[in-house]
Each structure stands twice: as structure tokens, then as C-alpha cells.
């Protein structure tokens, strides 16, 4: 097996980090929807915290993507 095909397999494995974002973001979304339903007047603040939270949760998936791209395009 040559190194290039191993790198492709590794790239595929790096994208598994998407699992974390896939678990985290729906949890945050559900809680945010719950919080807005309970206190609709605080929706502005909840949205701010929610956006910050999903941006940070999503970062794991993005790092996986970047690592995968580095593996694919390495020379």
C-alpha cells in the first residue's frame, strides 16, 4: 500500500470529527428552542449565546475538514 492511499484513508478518518459537531449542534439548537419557548422576551440574548455556541461546536468539524484537506493535498 503506497503512502498516498494511506493518506486518503487518514483523510476519511479525519472527517469523522463531524460526528462531534453533529451531536453538539442539535443539542444546542434543541436547548435554545426550549429556552426561547419558555422565555420569548429573552430571545435576543439566547440567540447570541446560541450562535457563539454553535460556532465553537462546529470548529471541531472544520478542523477535521482542514486536516483532511492537508492530507489530500500534501506533496
Amino acid at each position: 500500500m503506497n503512502p498516498q492511499s494511506l493518506a486518503y484513508i487518514a483523510a476519511g478518518m479525519a472527517v469523522l470529527t463531524g460526528l462531534a459537531a453533529g451531536i453538539g449542534i442539535p443539542l444546542a439548537t434543541g436547548k435554545a428552542a426550549e429556552a426561547i419557548a419558555r422565555q420569548p422576551e429573552a430571545s435576543g440574548k439566547i440567540q447570541g449565546a446560541f450562535l457563539l455556541g454553535i460556532a465553537l461546536a462546529e470548529a471541531t468539524a472544520i478542523y477535521g475538514l482542514v486536516v483532511a484537506l492537508l492530507l489530500i493535498f500534501q506533496k
Binding site: 435576543g44 447570541g48 450562535l51 457563539l52 460556532a55 462546529e58 470548529a59 472544520i62 478542523y63 475538514l65 482542514v66 484537506l69 493535498f73
Partner: protein, 250 residues
């Protein structure tokens, strides 16, 4: 661009899309400066923004008409957003953050302006210049992230004073010092990679969709991957920058 796009395989088309091409080279000061297509599309976006801001602010009235109303609503939204998140000092940064926000929106939406190549009965018409999403080039997002972290650093020193800023580095307990210093490297890195990765990922997925199913589906998927994702990422970038600046000047 002489051969039709169908001649390329899927992976070649994706590689073609990711790479930045050198459009022309400037010979100046004894060195060659390569101007890539990202820079040219950035000039186009800048021209659009400058022209829009010139035309919109040219004839301001006491009793606003439609374009001025839109402009005032947009500026008011940015001012409210920044003062709400960054406190009363945050008002000083509204212009900077608003500029980044507007630029990112324009940069992420600009690709929708360019025409697509069409082929009718063997006759292929390719557009001369295609604007690809600017932020798929890591240099653009890195430049923006460095600008943001520099302003965070300078704002912290300006509003807390040099000694207050140094004291802030060692808060809440002195053992946090290395972590607080590390933040100045991690924050721009994550800002830069988040925007880059999101836009590049969406762009690759759109290329895949267009290669697999060229008819009917791409416009619908494009609504999410081009429009929605670009807007959300612009908001997230501006929001995180606001939070970082708010942390620095508090």
C-alpha cells in the same frame, strides 16, 4: 479555458476549483508580484462596496427616501449590535466591525453575480472571469483574522492602559499567564480556519453536486450552501470579533 468543462473528471474539477490561479504579474521594485484571481475578485468586491457607499451617502436628506432608509436601518442594526455586545466603549469599534461584516457579506455573495458557462449545440460560451468565493482562499481569511487580533490587542492596551493590560494577562490567577498569551495565537487561528473551512467545504460540496447532478438540484442546494452558509459565517465572524473586542476592553 479553451476546452469544455465536461472533459475534466470530478476530482480534477475540484482541484481546479480549489487552486488559485495567477491572472497576471506586476513587475515592480525589482521583483515580480503575482496577482491571483482572488485578488482580482477582491478588487471587484471593493469597487462594488466603494461605489455603493458613495452613491448611497451622496444626497442625504432630513426626511429619508427609500435607499437612505435601508442604509440607516443597516447602520443602526450594526451600531445596536455592537453596543449591545461590547458595552458603551464598543461604539468606537462599530465602524471597524461593520466594515468587516459588510465585506464578508459582499465577498460571500459576490460569486452569485458571475454568469455561468453555457454550451448550446457544441458551441461553448465561457465567461471571461469567474468570481469564486473569496474566502475559500486562506490568505483572505488569515488577513482578516490578523486584523481583528491586532485591533483586540491595541484596544486592550488603549482602554486598560499598558499596566492594566499586563495585569489582565495574569488574571484571574498568575498561573493562567501562558494560556492568556496563547489565546492571542489561538483566537485568530480559529477565526481564520472556521471561515476558510466552512466556505471551502460548501464550495467543494457544490462542485460535487454540480458534477453528479447538473440539472435542477444545484440551485436548491446552492440556496443553503452558497447563500445561507455564507451569510451565517459572516455573522459568526463579526459576532466572534465583537466578543473578543468586548473581552479586551472590559
Amino acid at each position: 479555458m479553451s476546452e469544455p468543462a465536461q472533459a475534466l473528471s470530478i476530482s480534477e474539477r475540484i482541484m481546479e476549483g480549489i487552486k488559485t490561479k495567477t491572472v497576471f504579474t506586476i513587475h515592480a521594485f525589482g521583483s515580480n508580484i503575482d496577482i491571483s484571481d482572488t485578488i482580482v475578485s477582491m478588487w471587484i468586491v471593493m469597487a462594488i462596496l466603494i461605489l455603493a457607499s458613495f452613491l448611497l451617502t451622496r444626497r442625504l436628506r432630513e426626511i429619508p427616501k427609500k435607499p437612505q432608509l435601508l442604509l440607516e436601518a443597516f447602520i443602526g442594526f450594526i451600531n445596536d449590535f455592537v453596543t449591545e455586545n461590547a458595552g458603551h466603549h464598543g461604539r468606537d469599534f462599530a465602524a471597524f466591525l461593520g466594515t468587516i461584516f459588510t465585506f464578508l457579506i459582499a465577498a460571500n455573495l459576490a460569486p452569485m453575480l458571475t454568469p455561468v458557462g453555457v454550451s448550446i449545440g457544441g458551441f461553448v460560451a465561457e465567461p471571461i472571469f469567474v468570481i469564486k468565493p473569496l474566502t475559500r482562499d486562506i490568505n483572505v481569511t488569515a488577513a482578516l483574522a490578523i486584523t481583528v487580533i491586532l485591533s483586540v490587542l491595541l484596544a486592550g492596551i488603549r482602554y486598560k492602559g499598558p499596566f492594566g493590560w499586563l495585569k489582565g494577562l495574569a488574571s484571574p490567577i498568575p498561573i493562567m499567564l501562558p494560556f492568556n498569551i496563547m489565546e492571542y495565537a489561538i483566537k485568530p487561528l480559529s477565526l481564520c480556519l472556521r471561515l476558510f473551512g466552512n466556505i471551502l467545504g460548501a464550495y467543494i460540496i457544490m462542485l460535487l453536486i454540480e458534477a453528479v447532478m447538473p440539472i435542477a438540484f444545484p440551485p436548491i442546494a446552492g440556496l443553503y450552501f452558497d447563500l445561507f452558509d455564507g451569510l451565517i459565517q459572516a455573522v459568526v465572524f463579526a459576532y466572534l470579533s465583537t466578543i473578543y473586542i468586548a473581552e479586551a476592553i472590559e
